[in-house]
């Protein structure tokens, strides 16, 4: 078959990165990529069940478990971006300009500020839970709202309710014109967000297009793919940083003010 099915998180799809990359891949390769945009949890599930040929996700712990269980093979880091804490411009909890995400979270809990949580076990949600743990608080304070929805929805809710939330920078940049929010905290190494591409284990299912999947994965981490990722701009801002083969370097977290 010449179609390859890629399950990926909505962040890569909605930011327009894949619409930018994939046509360039399809030009030089005899494959047609069908993108299935879902959450990280579901993307890994689709991979486990053999319903797609490869996944592109950002949840290091879950991805490790995925590979350890032999559901997936040949994991490669492709790129990274980072998370930011955003909030209303009047900043009732006084976070603005902070650099320490853990501290910021502790403050939010102390102040009982409105905070919209993804609450959907996504990569972002896992990161958020980790931060609460680091800050030493159980997130059950007065303003805490677990929304159980995608990043875009949660940003909209935060804007509507004038609350804080943790978001990946891609979605933030894509949506910030439509939001009444501002960045409060960014640049902390704890806010780092790496993406991996993983092939679905061909030994588990017949008829997977592993060849095509591998071609795509290898192209993504090739020089050509990596250059294109670095060149991608959304609203004139670089969103993703190619990182194939790199040992992830926390200090390279971007600042929007760059």
């Amino acid at each position: 078959a010449d179609t390859v099915r890629l399950a990926t998180t909505t962040s890569t799809y909605n930011s327009g990165l894949l619409d930018y990359l994939l046509p360039k891949f399809e030009e030089d390769h005899p494959y047609q990529i069908q993108v299935i945009p879902v959450g990280t949890g579901k993307a890994l599930r689709l991979g486990r069940d053999g319903d797609v040929d490869l996944v592109l996700t950002h949840a290091p712990a879950a991805e490790k478990a995925f590979v350890d269980a032999d559901y997936g093979v040949e994991p490669h880091g492709v790129m990274y971006n980072d998370f930011v804490i955003v909030g209303p411009s009047d900043d009732p909890a006084g976070l603005e300009g902070g650099e320490d995400a853990t501290n910021a979270f502790a403050t939010l809990a102390d102040e009982g500020a409105t905070f919209i949580s993804r609450g959907d076990d996504s990569g972002t949600d896992k990161k958020e839970k980790h931060l609460w743990e680091e800050a030493g608080v159980t997130p059950d304070f007065k303003g805490f709202r677990a929304a159980g929805q995608g990043m875009g929805e949660v940003l909209k809710m935060a804007s509507e309710l004038q609350g804080y939330t943790l978001t990946d920078r891609g979605t933030w940049l894509a949506m910030k014109d439509k939001l009444d929010l501002e960045i409060m905290v960014e640049g902390d190494t704890a806010l780092f967000n790496p993406y991996q591409v993983i092939l679905v284990n061909p030994e588990r299912y017949d008829g997977l297009n592993t060849q095509g999947a591998r071609a795509l994965a290898e192209w993504l981490i090739s020089d050509e793919g990596q250059d294109l990722i670095d060149a991608f701009r959304l609203n004139d801002k670089a969103l993703f940083h190619a990182s194939a083969g790199e040992k992830i370097d926390p200090t390279s977290a971007v600042h929007e003010s760059d």
Partner: protein, 235 residues
């Protein structure tokens, strides 16, 4: 197959364990949808009666319009309400977004076309003599309407069940204007959507089964209420 079996078992377990978190979202679901049906029913009945019994220019177009509104996607209803209720929207001052009230409004909008279309076709089929007889015997307009409803009770119940089925099962508008906030606006369907998003299919299915079980209980109760009366006596 094995997974489906497990899921069924898990659903039953969830139900009988009386998990409070589960009952909370069941409560929200039923409260919102039942309220919406109750609010939507009277105007839907009036419009249906108007369409069925009163000849006015453009009536058939009005009927087509009602039928068209049945095809409004739930997300579109969600979207429009969202834009209206948003802080930057014309009704933002009401601060209704992400509340159960907003969800009720959304479900009313969704239930109305289904209710109206089905009630119209039911009232339409009721013998014209029923209305005439009631009016002549001194029934007021409202009383005659009530008699008509009683005479058409099977159809009315069918309409209510269809509309209820539609809104208790819908997720597009509930998630959009309710926000799926835990303890506040999380319903069975938004919870199912969340579990699915997480890839926790079994959990999602289990919730679905819970919803079906409850809907079955409701339907059987109504079925018992309306009696077996299914034989139409032919003249």
């Amino acid at each position: 197959m094995h997974e489906l079996m497990n899921t069924a078992r898990e659903a039953l377990h969830l139900l009988i364990s009386l998990d409070p978190a589960l009952w909370e979202i069941i409560g929200v679901s039923f409260r919102v949808s039942l309220t919406a049906i109750l609010v939507a029913l009277p105007p839907a009945l009036l419009i249906a009666l108007l369409l069925a019994r009163v000849a006015f220019p453009g009536r058939w177009f009005a009927i087509s319009l009602v039928n068209t509104f049945m095809a409004v996607p739930t997300v579109v209803v969600g979207l429009v309400l969202f834009m209206l209720l948003s802080r930057s929207g014309p009704l933002g001052e009401l601060r209704l977004l992400f509340t159960q009230r907003a969800m009720i409004i959304g479900q009313i909008l969704l239930a109305m076309p289904v209710l109206t279309a089905m009630l119209h076709s039911t009232l339409q089929s009721i013998d014209q003599r029923a209305w005439e007889t009631a009016r002549q015997l001194g029934a007021g307009w409202w009383q005659s309407l009530w008699v008509l409803i009683r005479e058409a009770r099977f159809g009315v119940i069918a309409a209510v069940l269809a509309a209820f089925g539609r809104i208790i099962a819908e997720v597009g508008s509930a998630v959009m204007i309710g926000g799926n906030i835990e303890h506040f606006t999380r319903t069975i369907t938004t919870a199912i959507a969340l579990e699915t998003l997480k890839g926790e299919f079994a959990q999602g299915l289990a919730l679905g089964l819970v919803l079906l079980l409850l809907a079955l209980v409701l339907n059987v109760l109504l079925g018992v209420m309306r009696g077996r009366g299914h034989q139409t006596v032919s003249v």
